[in-house]
Amino acid sequence: MSKEHEQGMSLIVKTITRLTVGLILLYGIYIVSHGHVSPGGGFAGGVIIALSFVHLMLAYGKEVALSKLPKQASSFFESMGAIMFLAIALLGFTGGYFFLNFLSKGEPFKLFSAGVIPLYNIAISLKVGAGLFAIFVALVLLKFESEKK
C-alpha cells in the first residue's frame, strides 16, 4: 500500500488521467489561440495548461510530472514569457510607441487577425502556465523537505 502510495493514486485515477490529460492540455492551447476572438485568452489558457501538469502530478506523483516538465524548464519558460511580452511591446518602438500593434489587423473574428494580440496571448500563457506550475512545485517540494527532517 505504502509503495503504491508513493507512486501516485489508484489505477482508476491513473487511467482516467492518462485519457484526459492530453485533452486538458489541448483545450488550454485552444483557449490561448482563440483568446482574441472569444472569451478567454492568455491568462485563462495558461491556467488550464498549468492545471494539466498539476493533474499529472497529483495522479502519478511528482517524479513523472517533473520528468515531463522539470523545475528549471518551468522557471526558464516563465522568464521567457515575460521577456517575449516585453520584446513584442518594445518592437512597437520601431513604429513610434510602446505597445504598437505593428502587424496587419486582418479580418475580425478570424483566427489570424488582431495583429500582435495573439502573440501577447502566447507570451502570457507561457508566463502564467509555467509560473503557476512553478508555484505548485515549489510548495510541494518544500513540504517534502521539511518532512524529511
Binding site: 472569444s38 472569451p39 473574428f109 508555484i135 510548495l139 523537505e145 521539511s146
Partner: protein
C-alpha cells in the same frame, strides 16, 4: 442594497479572522476572504440591471451591457491576490519548518 451589505459582512468576517485568530493558516484564510469580498464588491458595482456579459460577438445586437472595465480590472486584482497568497503560504510552511507550530502567540521572538 442587500448584496452590498453582504459584501461588507464578508469583508468584516475576513478582517475579524485576521485580527482574532491565532493560527497562521486561519489568518491567511482571513486575508483571502476579505480579498474576495473587495473583488466581489467591485464586480457588483459594475452590474447594470438586466445587463448581458460584455463580450462582442458578430451574431447578436448589443443593447444593455454591464460595465466591462471592472471585470478586466478585477481579474488583475485576483492575480495579485494569487501571488500574495502563494507567498504567504510558502512563508507559513517555512515558519512551521522552523518553529514547529502555527500558533502566533508562540512565534514571538521579535519584540521591543
Amino acid at each position: 442594497m442587500l448584496v452590498y451589505l453582504l459584501c461588507l459582512l464578508l469583508f468584516s468576517i475576513g478582517i475579524y479572522c485576521i485580527l482574532r485568530k491565532r493560527n497562521i493558516i486561519k489568518i491567511i484564510v482571513g486575508v483571502i476572504i476579505s480579498e474576495y469580498a473587495v473583488n466581489m464588491f467591485f464586480v457588483l458595482v459594475a452590474y447594470r440591471m438586466e445587463g448581458r456579459s460584455p463580450v462582442f460577438s458578430p451574431e447578436s445586437q448589443i443593447e444593455n451591457m454591464v460595465d466591462a472595465l471592472p471585470q478586466a480590472v478585477v481579474l488583475t486584482a485576483i492575480v495579485i491576490g494569487l501571488a500574495t497568497t502563494a507567498l504567504l503560504i510558502a512563508l507559513a510552511m517555512r515558519i512551521y519548518d522552523k518553529y514547529g507550530t502555527f500558533d502566533i502567540t508562540k512565534i514571538r521572538e521579535l519584540r521591543g
